[in-house]
């Protein structure tokens, strides 16, 4: 019975960066009890096209706002997409629906996709989208240094958490001690 003092969920060092501890046996069996609907849809039909559709939609939206220049519009598209994808893939943890007793509460969506495997087709696609969008937006902002810096920082914010190195990596500043959760 889980009496709240499991050794496996102990933070190893007091450093700023630390790895999310591995799950207990019971935890893992709960995870595999049902397919993870929260992460599986990225492999479904149309899940890739929707990124392109959303980006085009955002571009149209920002273009029709009066007084927005092409440079600002592209930058806004870029940072909106980066912000939304960061929120969705890297910030929110767990599963929004209740179907496996909170077995994924400690993992964000990127870590849930394809059961944590790296370099899967879905992950490759999801990493290329922000990079291509960044190259496009810097091109159409005519390489203005301010816009470039903003866009570059935005792309870094979504690319770094996608690297295999960042798998289950937590920044203590943002998420606190795993035992506290």
């Amino acid at each position: 019975m889980n009496d709240g003092k499991k050794g496996s969920r102990r933070r190893r060092s007091s450093s700023l960066l630390y790895q999310e501890p591995p799950e207990s046996m019971e935890h893992m069996s709960d995870q595999s009890a049902l397919p993870n609907l929260n992460a599986n849809w990225v492999n479904a039909k149309g899940a890739w096209a929707i990124h392109v559709v959303c980006i085009i939609g955002l571009k149209i939206l920002f273009d029709i706002i009066p007084g927005v220049s092409q440079e600002t519009s592209w930058t806004l598209v870029n940072i909106t997409y980066m912000f939304a994808s960061y929120l969705m893939f890297h910030w929110v943890r767990g599963v929004p629906f209740e179907f496996n007793a909170g077995a994924y509460d400690n993992l964000n969506m990127w870590e849930q996709i394809d059961n944590g495997d790296q370099y899967t087709p879905a992950k490759k696609f999801l990493l290329s989208v922000p990079i291509v969008l960044f190259l496009l937006s810097t091109h159409y902002t005519h390489y203005d240094l301010t816009y470039f810096t903003i866009n570059f920082l935005a792309v870094l914010a979504v690319v770094i958490p996608k690297l295999p190195f960042s798998h289950r990596m937590r920044v203590g500043l943002f998420s606190g001690n795993p035992e506290d959760r």
Partner: protein, 510 residues
């Protein structure tokens, strides 16, 4: 001359490459892009180039798994060897000598159960081992009504309540129980045991906190386990310890995200028989902002003037308790269980409590029987007083007069739990197994003298669980169930039989 030649050759190659490159579709766009992006800023171009190269490297990397391999790779010979060596364990462990002896002597009732039951060996004995407190088993009116309902509704709805299992009688029973208790709503489950073990996981999930009494019954323990919640135990009935645990939880959780918190306890404890101090518990749960899940399986229909349970007995408004879980199967002589609480609490369970969603609804005749018994309890409280009188009579024969056993039950509990006195256990250095053996001998001896009682067999250990995990060891005990179906004289005689059997077994030479 050689140098000249090499330069010419290099120029040719470059020309050739550029011609070929211009033939590639889209190359003009690419060139234009590179030219316009260079813009006299080599650093930025280098950053972009790096990003592109990085993306290409990422795209070309092979897939790998981050799951730790939890198995060893074996060769075919090793696999064959292991398969040959494998001896399957029996699905059921072989019986221990104690179990064997117990099974051999196990009494079997022939015909209907009642205060006097006929055994398969032909003898008729006084039955103090059934939860037949009000002797409703012998009630002809209930039987007639049940048969009528059976003819109208059939045996069972054969469907979960959420599909088409809910019948008008279920709605009526739910309303009757809620009205009887004074709660605003009620939900009826098909089995008493699985009620609490599915109510707890319906509300408490991983990361939530449950504070529970160490002596809670097996169904509650299963519910807590299924819920995956973090559980903190407090000493049995020790309200100071409970306050300490609650305070500790509040202190630890102060800076963390808010979780649901519950106190889980029983009205009359199944394993020990004693009674909860409900007003104090409610005071504590309100002070520390916990919700209270109260298992009234053994107190509903038993405590209080009209059998409303511990809330009536201790003069507490039932609405103060967040969830009251009770059984319709024991004292009420029907079947199934219920959970009473606010409308929200009840409605939530209709879709998220496993036992309600996935199990066929309660048979209609059991639902009507439960309603019927509730109205009997309301209109004629003498039913309860006559059982209380019998409890008093039995109590007088056992607890103060016996040198060997004490009754751990509360004085209102018709299930008398009789454990060996502590000084006896310590003086003779009796282990748990020794006590069980002695108590089984007492049960056998009592049966030989025409009174059937039983032992408390309520908590199968979890696999691999030790005393340390549970933190609490249940003392083996006898269970004597009082019924109003016996006269005062008969109860007295049965009490004397039990007492003499205890004395005989405890004083015999070993």
């Amino acid at each position: 001359m050689d140098l000249q030649y090499a330069q010419n050759w290099l120029n040719d190659i470059l020309n050739e490459v550029s011609i070929q490159f211009q033939k590639v579709p889209g190359s003009a766009i690419f060139l234009r892009y590179v030219k316009s992006s260079y813009q006299n800023d080599p650093v930025r171009s280098a950053v972009e180039l790096f990003l592109v190269l990085f993306a290409i490297r990422y795209l070309l990397s092979p897939k790998y798994s981050t799951q730790k391999k939890s198995y060893v790779t074996l060769s075919d010979e090793e696999i064959d060897e292991l398969v040959d060596d494998w001896m399957p364990e029996p699905l059921v462990a072989p019986q221990t000598p104690f179990e064997e002896a117990e099974n051999e002597k196990r009494p079997v009732i022939v015909g209907p159960t009642g205060p006097k039951s006929k055994l398969s060996n032909g003898r008729t004995v006084t039955n103090l081992a059934s939860y037949n407190f009000y002797n409703l088993v012998a009630n002809e009116t209930l039987k007639e009504k049940a048969i009528q309902v059976l003819r109208t509704y059939g045996v069972g709805p054969c469907s979960p309540p959420g599909f088409y299992g809910t019948q008008d009688v279920h709605i009526k029973t739910e309303a009757d129980i809620a009205a009887h208790l004074g709660a605003s709503a009620c939900i009826v489950y098909a089995q008493a045991f699985s009620t609490i073990s599915s109510v707890i996981p319906a509300f408490s999930k991983r990361g939530d906190i449950i504070v529970a009494d160490r002596a809670v019954n097996y169904a509650i323990r299963r519910g807590i386990q299924i819920s995956r919640s973090t559980v903190r135990w407090y000493e049995h009935k020790d309200l100071e310890d409970m306050e300490r645990v609650l305070e500790k939880v509040v202190r630890e959780q102060r800076k963390k995200p808010l979780t649901r918190r519950f106190v889980v306890t029983e009205g009359l404890f199944e394993n020990v028989g004693d009674m909860l101090d409900l007003p104090k518990t409610i005071e504590l749960k309100l002070k520390y902002k916990f919700r209270l899940i109260l298992d009234e399986t053994w107190s509903f229909g038993v405590l209080g003037r009209t059998g409303r349970g511990i809330t009536e007995h201790q003069n507490v408004d039932a609405a103060e308790v967040d969830m009251i879980i009770g059984s319709l199967s024991g004292p009420l002589c029907a079947g199934g269980g219920f959970c009473a609480g606010s409308d929200e609490i009840v409605e939530h369970q209709r879709i998220s409590a496993a036992a309600y969603t996935f199990s066929a609804a309660l048979p209609a005749m059991l639902a009507t029987t439960a309603s019927e018994v509730l109205s009997m309890l309301q209109t004629n409280p003498e039913m309860i007083t006559s059982v209380r009188d019998n409890i008093k009579t039995m109590w007088a024969q056992l607890d103060p007069r016996s040198d060997w056993i004490r009754c751990t039950s509360s004085a209102e509990n018709p299930i008398m739990i009789l454990a060996l006195k502590m000084e006896v256990v310590l003086g003779r250095k009796l282990s748990i197994a020794d006590q069980e053996q002695l108590l089984q001998d007492i049960v056998d001896e009592t049966l030989a003298n025409g009174v059937m009682i039983t032992r408390v067999k309520s908590m199968p250990r979890a696999i691999n669980a030790t005393t340390k995990d549970i933190g609490w060891e249940l003392q083996p005990a006898l269970k004597v169930c009082i019924t109003s179906g016996l006269s005062r004289k008969e109860i007295e005689r049965a009490g004397i039989t039990i007492r003499h059997a205890v004395t005989k077994i405890m004083t015999r030479k070993r």
